[in-house]
Amino acid sequence: SQKIEQNSEALNIQEGKTATLTCNYTNYSPAYLQWYRQDPGRGPVFLLLIRENEKEKRKERLKVTFDTTLKQSLFHITASQPADSATYLCALESNQAGTALIFGKGTTLSVSS
C-alpha cells in the first residue's frame, strides 16, 4: 500500500539555523508533491508545490527538492525563526482522475531563540 514517511515526528533547532525535513514515499508515483504548514487548532496552509519533472523549487526562505529516483523530498527553511515553529506536512498526488492528496503524519518543528 502507499506509504509516506516524514523522517521524524519532532525536530528542534536554534534560531538562524537551516531546518531540513525529509519526506520519503513508497508504492506511489506522484505527479505532484506539496508541503503544508499546520499550526495547533488550525487547518493546513499550502506552502509549495513541486512537479515530478522539477528538481527544486524556492519561495523566499523555503526550498523544496524532489528526487523521484530516491522517492524523496527535502524541505528546507533557511535562517529559521521561532515563528517557523509548526507542524509541516508532506503530501502527494497522482495524475489519475478521482484521486486526492495523501498526507504524511508531519514533522513538528520547534525553533528556539
Binding site: 499550502f46 508545490l49 478521482g98 508531519g106
Partner: protein, 111 residues
C-alpha cells in the same frame, strides 16, 4: 473574507445522534474535499466533489453522507454518531492542479 469557512467550529454530541457540518468556499474553486484528522494528527481523505459531482468516496462508513448543493458548498452529514467518529474534520477546496485551501476545521466530540 474567509476563503473556506466551516461551521460549527466545535461540536459536542451524544452517541447515536445525527449531526451536520457545513462548508462554504468563496474562491470560485471547482473541487471540494472532506478530510478527517484523527487523534494522531493523521489527515485522511474522505470525499471529494467536482462541480457538485462526487468523484472520490473513500472507505468511509455509509453513516457519512456528503451533499453538495452547488459548487461553493459541501456539507457533511453523519448519522448514528459513534465514539470513534470523534476527530477534527477539515473541508478544503482547490482549482486546477494547485495547492489546497483548507478551512479551520470542526472538532467533533462524541460522548
Amino acid at each position: 473574507d474567509t476563503a473556506v469557512s466551516q461551521t460549527p467550529k466545535y461540536l459536542v454530541t451524544q452517541m447515536g445522534n445525527d449531526k451536520s457540518i457545513k462548508c462554504e468556499q468563496n474562491l470560485g474553486h471547482d473541487t471540494m474535499y472532506w478530510y478527517k484528522q484523527d487523534s494522531k494528527k493523521f489527515l485522511k481523505i474522505m470525499f471529494s466533489y467536482n462541480n457538485k459531482e462526487l468523484i472520490i468516496n473513500e472507505t468511509v462508513p455509509n453513516r457519512f453522507s456528503p451533499k453538495s448543493p452547488d459548487k461553493a458548498h459541501l456539507n457533511l452529514h453523519i448519522n448514528s454518531l459513534e465514539l470513534g467518529d470523534s476527530a477534527v474534520y477539515f473541508c478544503a477546496s482547490r482549482t486546477g492542479n494547485y495547492g489546497y485551501t483548507f478551512g479551520s476545521g470542526t472538532r467533533l466530540t462524541v460522548v
